[in-house]
């Protein structure tokens, strides 16, 4: 972990130097629909726009967007305007997998207020045959666009290598994550989230080494049981820097044993089958087999079944549904999931954040009460 954090600190300088040498830096919104393998395969570097949790960029975004959009999505133009986050200033292209109006706002505001080229990757909201076809055509357009931008052809061999490498990373993350099913998880929720966030812009070879060594280390680590309630943390977006709820849960004595977010964290649950048509394989993994976000239509059951399996497999005793303000689809889905859990007698706490420091007090009270209630059984 220490090595990864040290690497992360120097990564910005590294990226800046790479850009000076002509490497293209490709920003993308990490909602799980943008195959990073394509970017690596043409010699460019993908960086996720994943920062959040800070009120300053939210305030800054008010000069471009009205308040009633998802906080994370507003924040993405806010960081660019503030010019305090170097990563947001070094993009040659921003790829936005458009899932709803909130994410659309990122694409449109960057179009309006920056000189960075924006590519919209349409993500269908239904997993039908023609939905799959549309997505597959979409990632082929991304591929062509990247090839034009970098002047490098994405060959099958290169793409296969990148898929293999990305699969190794996913497998290791999954292996580490699954260790948390144990009574005494060898890695805390907070550390796993840190790992996931840093994986979104670390050099992948360094990342692989870190994950391999961490995995071995954790296998033999003797961890004490926290004794606190085991919590599933889920919702819309968990951004890098948005640690309020995670910290409060751990301070209250809960143990986050598993998390499921559509945006912000790396999706590691399924690998890409690197056989046959590779673009089809990418579409299959990133779209068809991916657990749908709340913005999918008629897919609540698939998502709920997955969440309930996590509850069972990770022996979860309470669920925290953490969404950002004004993200309609997650607010509605949270209401429905609450009803599902009520029938199973599993407590759930719903929290909505606008990245406001003033929320901390009320969040603390609600989280402490929630954790206390679970402890009392």
């Amino acid at each position: 972990m220490r090595r990864l954090l040290t690497h992360s600190r120097s990564r910005l300088l590294e990226l800046r130097e790479m850009r000076h040498r002509g490497t293209k830096i490709i920003g993308y919104i990490p909602n799980g629909y943008m195959p990073e393998e394509l970017v690596h395969a043409c010699g460019a570097v993908p960086v996720a726009l994943v920062r959040g949790g800070d009120s300053a960029p939210v305030a800054a975004s008010a000069s471009c967007l009205a308040r009633f959009l998802d906080t994370f999505c507003r924040t993405q133009i806010g960081y660019r305007i503030l010019k305090e986050e170097p990563l947001y200033q070094m993009l040659d292209l921003l790829i936005v997998p458009v899932t709803d109006n909130h994410v659309r706002a990122i694409a449109d505001s960057w179009d309006f207020y920056t000189d960075v080229e924006v590519f919209r990757l349409g993500v269908p909201h239904v997993k039908t045959t023609h939905g799959f076809k549309y997505y597959l055509e979409g990632i082929n357009l991304v591929k062509e666009h990247l090839e034009r931008l970098t002047g490098t052809e994405i060959t099958e061999q290169r793409l296969r290598e990148e898929i293999d490498l990305a699969n190794k990373v996913r497998n290791l993350l999954k292996e580490i994550s699954l260790m948390r099913r144990s009574e005494c998880p060898p890695i805390s929720g907070k550390d796993f989230i840190k790992l996931s966030h840093n994986s979104l812009y670390a050099d992948r070879h360094t990342l692989l080494e870190v994950l391999e060594s961490l995995c071995e280390e954790l296998k033999v680590k003797e961890a004490p049981s926290s004794g606190g309630p085991r919590v599933l943390l889920t919702g819309s977006t968990l951004a890098l820097g948005d640690s309020k709820v995670v910290d409060l849960l751990e301070e209250a004595g809960a143990s986050i044993v598993i998390e499921e977010f559509c945006e912000g964290l790396r999706n590691y649950w399924q690998t890409v089958d690197a056989e046959g048509d590779l673009m089809r394989a990418l579409a299959n993994s990133y779209f068809a087999r991916r657990v749908p976000g709340a913005f999918f239509r008629g897919a609540a059951k698939e998502r709920f079944d997955f969440l309930l399996k996590l509850v069972k497999d990770f022996k979860v005793s309470g669920v925290v549904w953490y969404s950002l303000m004004y993200r309609d689809s997650y607010d509605v889905e949270g209401y429905i999931f609450h009803k599902v859990l009520e029938k199973l007698n599993i407590p759930m706490l719903r929290l909505s954040s606008d990245y406001d420091v003033a929320e901390t007090g009320s969040f603390r009270t609600r989280i402490e009460t929630f954790v206390g209630t679970i402890k009392k059984g």
Partner: protein, 466 residues
């Protein structure tokens, strides 16, 4: 019981006799009493031009539609709810599919009747707030109306929901909630917002047209499965033609609003245009006749130089017209003539499609018609084109605060339009349907100041020309 009121709404004596029992029953279900009817009379007199028989007929059509909707199940019909903004071709096809099927967007019908005329929407909003669309997190009051009315049981539980799922994210989420919690079948019509705004209103890529077309075809297939009502292509094309005739009748009236003085107010035209665009059954069946009467009356006004605003009054474009009539009335009262809204058609957006297959043709037309189907830049391009076509002196942008798509571009639109067209843009924020915490009068000072600016600019331009 309410003969005078019904007469005010253009009902003929024999219609009153025939419809009275149904209307009484509807009012009873909606808990509309004499006080509410008196309120409605007052609002009609305040906000609508009841001197015009055509306008009274339009009001009557909305009341009849409300009755048809509330009593649909009781009268043995299968009930299908589409959504708003509408895919009008789908709405028309289903609405005219069979006498045994009732189809509408309940949120549209209730907002234009129970809310606009009777001012009785609050209990419905409160019901929705208790059943999934909670207060305080900017859920759209239009969708709260849809959910609340169904849960409260004042409109029938539908046999099928057909939401369009791309312009608004909350529509499919609301219908998803109705499916998950109440077991109502849903046929989602999906589309994507991934086209660059610069391309509006040019042809959208064939793969997108095919995708949207397939989604509509699938929804019609599901409609047939659920209701047992077959909809062959020939029947759909006929219904689309009926819808087109109604839209054309509405457009003809809108074109008359080019005249100076403005011959018909925005509140009046609003009910006309939504009657056409929402493709409600009564509108499709009786709308062309009512609009023909209205067109004749408006034409006469134009010829006689009669208007609802002073001759030479500054002309403005109003983006979004809230469902209480008060804002449009206030703007008019301050000496501005609202001659067009963002929903008006443009030449580019109305160009015929080159696609010949039914659903691809509909998909192409539907997507190019409005900038909303592209990235937000297209909204701005569309507003600029409308402002030029209608030669407006200013734009009032009422932003329904909980509408996500309208949260993205207004600030940029103001900047671009003021710079490029040299006309002022006023951004207002409020609620489209929920008037518990928003009132048009709160905006009076800003609108008054804006009106003065627009008048002064216009006078200055006139001075420069002379």
């Amino acid at each position: 019981m309410y003969s005078e009121f019904l007469s005010l709404c253009g009902f003929e004596p024999e219609e009153i006799k025939r419809e009275a029992p149904r209307i009484d029953k509807t009012f009873s279900i909606l808990e509309i009493g004499p006080d509410d009817v008196n309120r409605a009379k007052g609002r009609i007199e305040d906000f609508f031009d009841i001197e015009l028989l055509g306008m009274r007929k339009v009001l009557g059509l909305w009341l009849k539609e409300l009755t048809d909707m509330v009593l649909a199940k009781e009268e043995g019909k299968k009930v299908v709810y589409v959504s708003f903004p509408p895919i009008s071709q789908i709405g028309a096809a289903i609405a005219l599919a069979s006498e045994d099927v009732y189809c509408a967007a309940p949120d549209v019908v209730l907002s234009n009747t129970l809310n606009l005329l009777f001012g009785k929407i609050n209990p419905i909003l409160e019901t929705a707030e208790k059943h999934g669309l909670a207060p305080g997190i900017a859920f759209c009051s239009y969708l709260q109306t849809r959910l609340g009315a169904i849960v409260k049981g004042i409109v029938p539980m539908p046999d099928l929901l057909i939401p369009s799922c791309f312009l608004c994210d909350l529509t499919p989420a609301t219908d998803g909630l109705l499916h998950e919690v109440y077991g109502i079948p849903v046929a989602y019509i999906d589309n994507l917002l991934d086209v660059r705004g610069e391309q509006w209103p040019e042809v959208i890529s064939p793969r997108k047209v095919q995708y949207f077309g397939s989604e509509m075809r699938n929804a019609i297939e599901k409609f047939s499965q659920v209701t047992g009502c077959q909809l062959p292509e020939s029947k759909i094309r006929q219904a689309v033609d009926v819808g087109n005739r109604l839209n054309s009748a509405s457009d003809q009236i809108q074109q008359l609003r080019q005249a100076d003085p403005l011959p018909l107010s925005q509140n009046d035209y609003q009910l006309v245009s939504v009657l056409a665009s929402a493709c409600i059954k009564r509108g499709l069946q009786e709308g062309v006749e009512a609009l023909s009467i209205l067109r004749g009356e408006v034409e006469k006004r134009v010829n006689d130089g009669i208007g609802v605003a002073e001759k030479g009054a500054p002309r403005v474009l109003l983006v979004m017209v809230p469902h209480d009539g008060a804002l449009a009335a206030m703007i008019g009262g301050l000496g501005l003539a609202i001659c067009v809204t963002a929903g008006a058609s443009t030449p580019g957006g109305s160009r015929p499609s080159s696609y010949t297959s039914l659903w691809e043709n509909v998909a192409d037309l539907q997507m190019r018609r409005r900038g909303a189907n592209y990235s937000s830049l297209a909204y701005i391009l569309q507003l600029k084109e409308l402002a030029r076509l209608w030669n407006v002196d200013g734009i009032i942008f009422f932003r329904h605060y909980s509408c996500r798509q309208y949260s993205i571009f207004p600030i940029k639109a103001k900047e671009v339009i003021e710079k490029e067209l040299g006309i002022p843009v006023l951004l207002l924020e409020g609620d489209y349907c929920d008037f518990r915490s928003y009132n048009a009068q709160q905006m009076r000072t800003r609108v008054e100041t804006f009106a003065e600016i627009v008048k002064a600019d216009k006078a200055a331009r006139k001075g420069n020309r002379s």
